[in-house]
Symmetry: C2
Subunit: 144 residues, 2 copies
DNA sequence: GTCTAATTAGGAATAATTCTTGATTGACTA
DNA sequence: TAGTCAATCAAGAATTATTCCTAATTAGAC
């Protein structure tokens, strides 16, 4: 699901705020990388980000992409997930949320509240586990 | 949680059967790698398996460890999980089950049925997702 | 015991990510 | 509107984990 122009505008404003709040500079490279993620379907590898960025900014190096992505994750502007194969994907949407991975296409789909997944971890607390977060990945096929 | 001698014996018998069923040879290397996992706390990297195996079998190479681990995963004798950092861990216990990762120690703990985690994915089916499997990883701290 | 395909050892090759260093730049100040 | 400087970036070397390659070895059938 792609974001529309309005959402991209809003999210870009948020990036400005998050960078300032963290005392970091607003650079062309950070904007470019962030916008590529916003304009994508949501989940890209560092390499894919680099290729997409390179269309408009051929000089932007891969190591800078890694750098910027790490920074953006750190300030909570984007998220990061690791798939079973070990591939790291950068996620337009920050914060805890669940994912569905299509086993045929490899496509990653965000499962937000409307997906209706019910997860109850209360029993863990009673067994001595202090829960801080949880990540759920569901595998299967999406019917069109 | 470590397995006792009886459980290790039973699981070793199972390995023989699974290898035969798959038409594969029972080799000293496969037994050694498998036993290291059985005797561990349950989740090891390939490197850790290699080091543990090397105590008794210094000649057993790292590439063989990778080879054997892949084979054991393929025949369903052991499992494989990928942590958030991207580290691959080999899991004494095969098949779908959930995990708890202690954010302080990094320790991985299996959450079996007795942990009481409730997960309901039925709503996904109604939304066009044909679920084949699901992996849940819970983060937090375990109180002693 | 012999035979043969499967398996292994050892090291080279690969892929993804991180590190290093000198050059460049954004943002503050005057 | 330019000067200053710490932050940031580009480029490529280094590292890490894993896979691949090939010749030598071995399990299991006969």
């Amino acid at each position: 699901m792609k974001l529309d122009a309005r959402q991209i505008e809003t999210r870009t404003q948020e990036l400005y705020e998050k960078l300032r709040a963290a005392g970091l500079k607003v650079t062309l490279q950070r904007l470019a990388v962030y916008r590529v993620l916003l304009q994508s379907h949501g989940h890209l590898t560092a390499e894919q980000v680099h290729q997409a960025v390179a269309r408009d900014n051929p000089a932007l190096s891969l190591s800078t992409v890694y750098n910027v992505l790490e920074t953006l994750v750190k300030i909570g502007a984007i998220g990061e997930i690791t798939t079973d194969g070990g591939t790291k994907l950068f996620d337009r949407t920050p914060g805890d949320h669940h994912h569905f991975i299509d086993t045929e296409t490899g496509e990653v789909i965000d499962l937000d509240d409307s997906a209706g997944v019910k997860l109850d971890l209360n029993a863990l607390a009673r067994r001595g586990f202090a829960v801080e977060g949880a990540k759920l990945t569901v595998y299967g096929r999406r019917k069109k």
